[in-house]
Structures are given as structure tokens and as C-alpha cells.
């Protein structure tokens, strides 16, 4: 019942677009899945219906969703597009990480070493 919270210094529509993209990448939303109606989505998230309309327009512009006349919005069935979305989110996350690490003065070698070790530990002991 409680609505999801949003960071109130960023546009809500962008935060919602991102959440839906993450749901797609995690497999919670699959190719061809129907998205809730504008009103349902607005109520679920406690946001203005005009904002949700903007979210769906943006997803359509990004070719991640498509609107079928009179039926609502659906996640695209273009698997290639969804693969690219997954790559984009991966690269975005890695870029942010590398930027933060470089700013703290770590070299490429140190970063790679750190990541490799951490992944090995996680694999072995599931930290």
C-alpha cells in the first residue's frame, strides 16, 4: 500500500524509467509483457498519471516498450534491444565505479586486482 519512495532532487519520470529498465534486466519483466495501465501504475507508485504517461512515452522513444492502440503498453519483443539495454546498464555501472576509483587515485591494475580478488572470495565463500 505504501508508495515507493523517490529521490526528490531527480525527475520522477527518469527514476521510474530506470526502475522499469532494471526490472527488465533482472528478468522480472520479459519481452512482450504487458505494463500496468497508466492509472494502475500511478496508483501503485503514488505519482501523478501525467508523469506515468511521460514514462511510457520515454520507454517508447527508447524502443524498450511499445504502445498498442487501445490495448496498453508492452515491453518490446525485440530481444536484441533488450540485450543492448543489459549491456548499457552494465557499462553505465562500470563507468561510475571506475570514475569513483580513479578519483580516489587507484590505478587500473589495482582496480582489476581488487575486483578479481573480491569476486574469487565471493565465489568461494558467498560473502
Amino acid at each position: 500500500m505504501m508508495s515507493q519512495t523517490f529521490n526528490n532532487t531527480q525527475p520522477i519520470y527518469l527514476q521510474m524509467v530506470r526502475r522499469i529498465c532494471l526490472q527488465v534486466v533482472r528478468g522480472e519483466l520479459k519481452a512482450g509483457d504487458k505494463l500496468p495501465s497508466v492509472r494502475e501504475m500511478a496508483v501503485q507508485n503514488g505519482v501523478n498519471p501525467n508523469t506515468v504517461q511521460r514514462v511510457y512515452t520515454e520507454l517508447e522513444r527508447l524502443a524498450i516498450a511499445e504502445t498498442r492502440r487501445g490495448l496498453g503498453s508492452y515491453i518490446t519483443e525485440d530481444e536484441e534491444r533488450l540485450k543492448r539495454l543489459r549491456e548499457d546498464l552494465k557499462n553505465e555501472q562500470i563507468d561510475t565505479f571506475i570514475k569513483d576509483m580513479s578519483e580516489m587515485g587507484f590505478s587500473a591494475e589495482e582496480i582489476l586486482d581488487g575486483v578479481r580478488q573480491k569476486l574469487l572470495i565471493t565465489k568461494a565463500g558467498r560473502v
Binding site: 508508495s3 532532487t9 492509472r39 496508483v43 503514488g46 501523478n48 498519471p49 501525467n50 508523469t51
Partner: protein, 234 residues
Amino acid sequence: MTEHIVSFSQVTKRYLGKLALNNVSFQLPRGRIIALVGPNGSGKSTILKLIAGLVRPSQGSVTVCGKKPGRRIAGEVAYLSELDALYPFFTVEETINFNAGLFADFDHQKAQEILHFMQLEPDKKVRHLSKGNRGRLKILLALSRRAPLLLLDEPLAGLDPLVRDSIIKSMISYLDLREQTVLMSTHEVSEVEPALDLVISLSNGQIKGMEEVERIREQYGLSLVDWMKETLAK
């Protein structure tokens, strides 16, 4: 259908010589949820009353749905007063029926849906309702009307967080923004923020800022509360 649902042109309002609004001009687009924010006494209620036709401008002109507001605007404007305007001796059901008789655009079906959503008991007398449930009943009465313009004066004031949440949720669920526009005054800015399209900040009877809420975040990276502080400090 004109593009703007409300238009103020150089409006000044005095109450017994006391200046409430000082030469204010603005226009409101249709199909939006708009908030009036600002300190007590800044002119929020006066703007709502001028639109509802409950008071007249001392100078300037107000146009609502292409007309000058007066007694007959009540058919096109639903007004939720900040005062307790319910009859205590009616039950919830009787209050709904009474309002259905008053307003031709009252949607009985919608009223029943909201009644259920708000979990209000139809047989309970208004005088036995908690303050929170009176707040819920008031918003039910406003949202049950198919009026093109809803004016809500402090619909969240003095209510607990759960009630405020249910009121905001019911607005999102039951408004029809293709046909309706909402103008509400509030102090609960951060709570209502995700539901808003536009915000107008007022101080000392003058408009200090009017902006789309998503633009405030996009352009300035500010929350609405911070933007208010900035505009009101001007």
C-alpha cells in the same frame, strides 16, 4: 474549450482595507494537479475563494472555464473548504445523498467506490467520525463530482500520515485528468510532491514562482521544499 481553465488578470483583493492579494496575474492549464504553497496568510485561500466565486476581486478580473465566477460557477467547480462543512446529524450515506442532490455532476457509482476504498461506514453519523474520517469524507465528496475544476483548500491539514496517504492515493485513483484539473493549497509539500504537475509559490499576496515540478528537479536538481525556500526568500 479555452486552453486555460483559470485566468487571473491583475487581481487585487482587500478585506476591510487589508491587502490579501496584490496585483496577481497567472493562468492555469487544464488536466493538471496544481499546488498553491506558501506561508499562512500568503493568499492561498483567497485565490481559491475567488475562483469558487465566494468572494469578488477588488480590482482586476478572474475567468474560470471562460466565465466570471459567481454563484452559478458551483456547477463547474467543486470546492472543498478548509473548514468543517459537514452536517453532524447526517450519516455518511445521507451526506453523500445530500450532495448528490445538490450537484448534477455527482457520480454516485464513484462515491460508492471511494467509500469502499476509504473504508468508511455508511451508517455512521458524521458527528461520530474521527477527524481523519471527516477528512476522508470531504475528499470523497469532492472527488465524486465530475466537475472540470476541483478546488481543495488544505485537504491534508491536521490529519495523520495514514489519512494523508489515503487522500493522496484517492486523488490519483479517482481523478480523471483528461477532463479534470485540481488546484489545492497545502503545507504538506514533500508528501504531495510526487502527485503534482505544477506548483505556485505565494508570499504576501504575490506570486513568487510558478514551475513544473519535474522541471524543478530536472533543471535545478532541487526538491520542491528547497525550491520553495529559494523562491520565498526572494
